[in-house]
Amino acid sequence: MSGKGTDSSGRLLRYGTVIASLAVMFLVLIGLNIVIGSVRVPLRELLHILFTGGGGDTWQGIIWKIRLPRLFESALLGGALALSGFLLQTFFNNPIAGPYVLGISSGAKLTVAAAMITAFGAQRSPGSWFLVSAAFLGALMSMGVVLLVARRVRRSATLIVCGVMIGYICSAITDFLITFADDASIVNLHNWTRGSFSGATWDDIRVISVVVLSASAVVFLLSKPISAYQMGEYYAKNMGVNVQVFRIVLVLLSSVLSACVTAFAGPVSFVGIAVPHLVKALLNTSKPIVVIPVCFLGGSVFCMACDLIARTAFAPQDISVSSVTAVFGAPVVIALMIKKRGREM
């Protein structure tokens, strides 16, 4: 009765349903994010602005200079965060690994803050590429420390605690830097260190698209060795994977993705853990070839939704998107830890 055809077509139906639902949510969120905001733009005016480029100057500015870049930024960086988390979970074989809890976001935050202060000190506005490079450096430094710790500890819970500690140290140094920074840069920095998609520009979007989309494409093309690596280092090697090279590539990719997020939006918490977990649960598989694209889409949807809440919940006051992602993401992490407790935590 349950022939092979039925099994695999059932699975494909499930994947299709999940992808279709996420795509619908994606489109709906695009609409909502454009329409909703502290300034109400009438629908007729809106269509006019979007499709003919006309409309009133104020409204046009709000849509094209504020809402659309912010929308793109949350979509791209959300996807990047989710993928970065998925890669780190694969790398450490630990479902609660992610760029935020391992202190990688905070490491990037530290170097980006230092870079910004330096740039402002030289009376210049820091360029997008400059910030991304600084963030990448910081991410790699944190990752290096985490890897050193990981070599010594086998217990995954200890690793996470160490990562959180690294995060605290980096945040403390960042605060220290900000305290002694010029007045002019403080406002800018302070908003950013809490995590926010506000203030995105089309220049930023260009850089983000290049970095995130190319890194994500590479991740997708690596889904075969990632699937081997999910079986552990030894089995992966036996399947013909050059594990040493592959590990370096994984570290670089996850760092570049989370660094890009931090450079433009600051540290955004828990997306990297919650989204891959939810996606795997929805698809009921951890096969990278399916999980990777859906993770990206899921991360986009998650961050777009959270940003919508961040913008509108207490409008006109923006709250940090990291607070919103924490509210939705942290319970998922707690649930994961409870589920995992029975095993070797």
Binding site: S2, K4, D7, N93, P95, L221, S223, K224, S227, A228, Q230, M231, G232, Y234, Y235, K237, N238, M239, G240, V241, N242, V243, K280, A281, N284, T285, S286, K287, I289, R343
Partner: protein
Amino acid sequence: MDIFLSTRDLAVGYNGKALIHGIDINLRRGTILTLIGPNGAGKSTILKTIAKYLKTICGAIYIDGRSIDDMNERDMSFLLSVVLTQRLRTERMTCEEIVGTGRYPFTGMLGILSEEDKAQVRESMELTDVWDLRERDFMQISDGQRQRILLARAICQQPSAIVLDEPTSFLDIRYQVEFLQILRDMARERGIAVIMSLHELGLAERISDDVLCVKGETIEDYGRARDIFTRERIEKLYDLKEGSYNPLFGSLEMKRPNGEPRLFVIAGGGTGTGVYRELQKMDCPFVTGILHENDIDYPVAKDLASEMITERAFMPVSDETYARALEALRRCDTVLNCLSSYGEANARNQSLAEDAKTLGLRVIAHPEDYSQ
């Protein structure tokens, strides 16, 4: 000889330090080589070096005539597959997907299985009798089933050799026997060379063609299984002082009870073995007889009894032997008679029991009735 895998003066270890040296093995296609030896002797280290997880310290390993130093991971993956001891933790993966990972070297860029790959997966799963589990989550099946899934994965890679590190460790006896039988059939039918480590000596003796005895620094012994599994060699390999190894049964006996025996056990034909072991647990020394040297009770008696009254195989019990038995009887205060039926061959044991009564010894039938 069709040698598939061999090592030449191989030394293995960690961080450049040799742990074991002078390893020279020749593994023929279709045969099973088992590594035995005490814990921590380095069995896993040898296997990991052969699978290229560890660098060789010196010497060389040849697979199919090529040195593994000249091969990369991908070359190796076509020749050799592994089943490891570490427990594999997976997330939402079905058993079929796990087995499918064995097709890795054969699939394209994105790792999508072709119809031929799928056929191979099915064939391997049927061979290890796990096809029914294909839709189950790998984490939600028993240890025995998991191990067979991993074997199916290894077979699915169509290797010429399989390396297994203590594959039977978490299995109950039924799964142990089933697992090793599959391995044996696979070696014979597909000509796959198998090299593995085992803890269970009894199983090692029954499954292996050749045995490598690993004991720290050097190889203690290497040869055909039937030559290796002798009392002396095994007891030396494991420094067995408290107990003994019985090559006939491939089993272990505990330490012989100490002290002057005050109990005479009349046994034979398998009636004594269980009783001897009971007495060993009570730490109660005993004399036993009269046993023929080919009696089934003889091996265990030899390991556990303080003294034995024996007769040569196939010979009637002589008067001298009987006299020795009587003399031993006189030194005891109790007789445990395990026999309940007598015939021509053990008629003298019957008279021994009667003599014991005449001598005024206490006669009991169960070890529990005895108190020192």
